[in-house]
């Protein structure tokens, strides 16, 4: 047997393997760029630059949301040399064990990521990478630390930006930011861990408009990862662009004034510009300074306090408090009745207290007087005519027919559902229709007498303050409204098209005059229920209301618009547990109207009385 030939077998084997390897390496290194991209991913050669968040202006160009620079104290473990832990702890005002614990936390917290495959947190801590040791220091705090950092190698400062609210108001409108969750990062690759995202209000609704366009910088890291230079002279880089500013319809001065008036009280104020649907002010009292929820440190210390406050500052009253509307509903009932032709502007009814309770007043001879006196029996009879029109022979079927007709009218006022708008967190309220009562009582087992309390805005009907303010705006406009909204424009773009669409009610404009006349009389006739809303040189049209509260003192409510002939503001005021509407809500509404229209208040006594009042508000101990 010739064994020498076997040498060639071995040699060929070696050549074959080396050949295959070379082929593979040529493919991996030269032809296929999968691994190059993978390496870029690993070495993080793509650096993302986040622009500062877009700023927000009010209707008068006042900057209400800005960005302020904060500082993070960064740490690179590999660069730390001979750290004098005691001196360092003293510098940042910590104890030595706290500093040690923080080092541990960084390795076990920030230095790990969630491994989707194994479902475990896995370490990707790198000693050469910078991790924030202290977050969100103010310039003041940093200026105490920075001069001494030269003594502590491995620590450096890094600027970041955070929100700032110079007017310290409108927290319920603007919302706040907080750190993105893991799920949000997975859903939207825009975000990186420790980024902020709008968590409520305008900040959340306009998140995409406010966050801007992030820039991408391709960098080449040296083997030591610290000498950073631009890749290909920045040919592939894109610059970060800050979002265009948001302009709101809100008047921040009015908002701050409203919050001031509502101090030590619970309730809300909603003011709308009828001609545009822009929300001028939306106070949810008690209010709080939005700066309390800026940054992780603030949120973790202040949010629990706000959440456990017995006065419920975080509860968005204008949007989620669903009240039976009370007397304001009489305005709507009047309009529907006239449109249906069941009464005219001059129909009068005696104040028959056997039908439903009322206070002492002369019988109403027309609609304006009915509104002025807020006569309950008048509306009992009026709404009975709407519901029981006598179209069907069966009284139950007739009520069903009438209620559904009424329901369509009410829906045309934008009630019974949330507005499709940039106001987040709305509740729909409740407007009952025949299906609702069928479910409750059974088909054809109910008639007007069963559901009569809806005629004076009690019973099943529930509206939010925002919806009620919009009713006032509709009356001011004599029959139409724009969807109430916060933001007027983004950058050079005007309002969103849906905000420019007029919504018409099913009521002819001519029927509004007697109602408006009634509202004028409420405020301006001697002895009117809304006399405390009267102003010297502005004709205010209003309506008092009292919302029955089964849990305690009734809520004081007042609705108004002004001036009568060219309405510029429609306002709804709720003061919880304040009793009769004329006492507290009416003067507050007039102060808001005057402040908005004239920029100042003419009756300091009225203002003082409101500011000093504390109603059903639990003081902090």
């Amino acid at each position: 047997m010739n064994l020498d030939a076997r040498r060639n077998v071995i040699l060929s084997f070696i050549v074959l393997v080396i050949g295959i390897y070379l082929f593979r390496l040529f493919y991996m290194q030269v032809l296929d760029d999968t691994w190059t991209l993978r390496a870029q991913e690993i070495a993080e050669k793509r650096k993302e630059i986040f622009p500062p968040r877009g700023v927000i202006f009010d209707r008068n160009g006042k900057k209400i949301v800005t960005n302020q620079t904060y500082y993070n104290l960064m740490m690179v473990e590999d660069s730390i040399q001979n750290l004098d832990t005691a001196a360092f702890a003293q510098l940042i005002g910590w104890t030595v064990p706290e500093v040690r614990q923080r080092f541990k936390d960084i390795v076990e917290g920030e230095g790990t990521y969630y491994n989707k495959i194994t479902g475990k947190r896995t370490s990707n801590y790198q000693k050469i990478r910078a991790y924030p040791f202290l977050k969100e220091l103010t310039l003041e705090e940093m200026s105490k630390i920075a001069p001494h950092l030269a003594n502590f190698k491995g620590f450096h400062e890094e600027a970041t930006s955070a929100r700032n609210y110079p007017y310290k108001s409108a927290a319920n409108i603007l919302g706040y930011l907080s750190e993105v969750t893991r799920e949000e990062i997975e859903e939207d690759h825009f975000y990186k861990p420790s980024n902020n995202i709008g968590r409520a209000g305008i900040e959340r609704f306009y998140e995409e408009e406010l966050r801007g366009v992030k820039g991408i910088k391709y960098i080449v890291t040296s083997a030591l990862n610290n000498a950073i230079e631009s890749y290909a002279d920045g040919k592939y880089d894109t610059t970060a662009r800050q979002a265009e500013p948001l302009k709101m319809g809100m008047d921040v001065v009015l908002q701050a004034y409203g919050e001031q008036l509502m101090q030590k009280k619970k309730g809300c104020i909603v003011a709308i510009e009828p001609s545009s649907g822009e929300i001028l002010s939306m106070v949810s009292a008690p209010s709080y300074d939005p700066n309390l929820l800026v940054g992780k440190r603030n949120i973790s210390s202040n949010y629990p306090k706000l959440a456990t406050d017995p006065n419920l500052p975080l509860f968005p009253r204008p949007l989620q408090a669903e009240y039976p509307p009370g007397s304001i509903f009489k305005l709507v009932q009047s309009l529907i009745a006239m449109q249906e032709g069941v009464i005219t502007a001059n129909t009068g009814f005696p104040c028959d207290k056997s039908l439903v309770g009322c206070h002492n007043h002369p019988s109403a001879r027309n609609i304006a007087e009915a509104i002025q006196y807020s006569c309950n029996p008048y509306y009992y009879m009026t709404v009975r005519r709407i519901i029981q029109q006598g179209v069907k022979k069966n009284a139950f079927a007739d009520a069903e027919y009438g209620l559904n007709k009424w329901y369509r009218y009410i829906r045309s006022f934008g009630l019974g559902d949330i507005f499709d708008t940039d106001v987040s967190g709305q509740r729909p309220g409740l407007i009952p229709n025949s299906k609702f009562y069928d479910k409750w009582y059974g088909h054809h087992t109910w008639a007007f007498s069963t559901i009569r309390s809806i005629s004076i805005g009690q019973g099943e009907v529930k509206l939010t303050p925002l919806q009620m303010a919009n009713i006032v705006a509709i009356i001011a406009n004599k029959g139409w409204y724009y969807t109430p909204h916060f933001v007027r424009s983004i950058g050079r773009k005007g309002p969103r098209p849906e905000f420019k669409k007029r919504h018409w009610t099913m009521i002819n404009y001519k029927h509004f005059d007697p109602v408006i006349e009634g509202m004028r009389m409420v405020v301006n006739v001697p002895g009117g229920t809304g006399k405390m809303a009267r102003l010297e040189d502005i004709v205010v049209c209003g309506k008092t209301g009292t919302v029955q509260n089964p849990h305690g003192e009734d809520h004081s409510v007042f609705f108004a618009f002004a001036p009568m002939n060219k309405p510029k503001i429609a306002v709804a005021v709720f003061v919880e547990n304040a009793g009769w509407g004329g006492t507290w809500a009416a003067p507050i509404a007039s102060l808001i109207i005057e402040k908005y229209l004239k920029g100042k208040v003419s009756d300091p006594e009225k203002e003082k009385r409101i500011l000093e009042a504390q109603i059903a508000y639990k003081s902090a101990h």
Binding site: R6, I14, W35, A39, N225
Partner: protein
Amino acid sequence: MRKEESLTANLDWPLFGAIIAMLIMGLATVYSVAFNEDAPSLFAFSEKYGRQLFWIIFSLFLGLLVFLIDADIYRRFAIPIYLSTLVLLIIVLFMPAVHGAHAWLGVGSFGVQPAEFAKISTSLLLAKYISGLTVKQQTTGTVLTASSILLIPMVLILLQPDAGTFVVFTSFLFVMYREGLTFDPILLNFVNAIPGVRYKETWVGSHFIPILFALVLLSIITLLLDAVVFHVNLFSLDLELSGSSGVIFGLLVIYVISWLLMQRFSTRRERSRMMVVLTLGLILASMISFTVDKGFDMLRPHQKDRIELFLGLREDPNGDDYNRNRAMAAVGSGGFLGKGYREASVSSVRSNHVPESETDFIFCPFAEEWGFVGVLFLFILYLFVLFRIIIIAERQRSAFNRIYAYCVAMILFYHFAINIGMNIGFAPVIGIPLPLFSYGGSSMMSFSVMLFILLKLDAQRKEVLR
């Protein structure tokens, strides 16, 4: 013969030069990958490159010692050297485990791994034993003795456990194949036990080793195709074949083609014999493929995962396959010309992306820094070394020298193939160093000594009469 007393007389300069070139390249790579700007000196003993330089100098000193000693002792003392290594391999099992393996003898960074030296002593004893045999003399006893020389250290190494070195020991099978060691005596015992059969040799026994490798290859192919379903459209008959039946189908096709070729080219006498071989081969291969397939299905899930990861059927970039994935990213990102010396952004030690990038994964920074051009140069250098050793082997007068040289060549080749294979996804991560490149004292010393013994044997080849 005694006239030339000079140490460098008859030294094979090409191989010696190539070894020095590799040592320098390796040191340069370690310097690059483990660079610490606080101790930039190559002589900084606190750093890995400083220590590597020390190991290189120490290894060259050992090489000098090897050259001062007469080469004859290796043949004469092969058995004592082998036995003392076995003792060390047993002692090491009682040493405290480092990284889960009882592989280190000694303390701290100055420990040595007896397994590294077992390669040399096994080579020596195998060379001594096989050189004393001729093909005609082979009996069951000689085959078993030769196999035992391999198997005893292999078992001890597996007990550590050190899978890498264990696999490297199978390189001796190539040497046995080259030397015509046949497993016939064992096989004939079985075959001739069948009544009426009287064979003098079996083809299988003398080609036992290539057949073994062919079987391993066949098994791997079967497993690779395990999850694949083939669609075969045969005479408008749509067949769906599972992976293993696909392999068997493929074997059948090869069989038919070989049969047709045989009809055309071979003589009638050869034909009948080859038909038997082919048919038996087909049946055996099909059975093995079938068994591997069924056997794999019976494995437990985690065992399957292991095998699937090993074969690259499944990716797990952040789990078990982390090392290989990172290593491949580093190698693949090197491109054609590389990123430049000391610019390995993925595989530098301090960036911590590729673990063990100064030891077992030293190829990563090299490939990342020098690109395909550097890799080509390294491969040519390795090919040169391997060919040079085989040339040296073939020019020896003594069988002992030749067999030892082949052992060295095959061990180097195995290390090269498995180590680089780990970096390109062709081999499992079993942690064996790249000879003369990787950081580490034991492997540096053992490879240097191994090569210097070869150079010394070669230098003295003319003195040997046998």
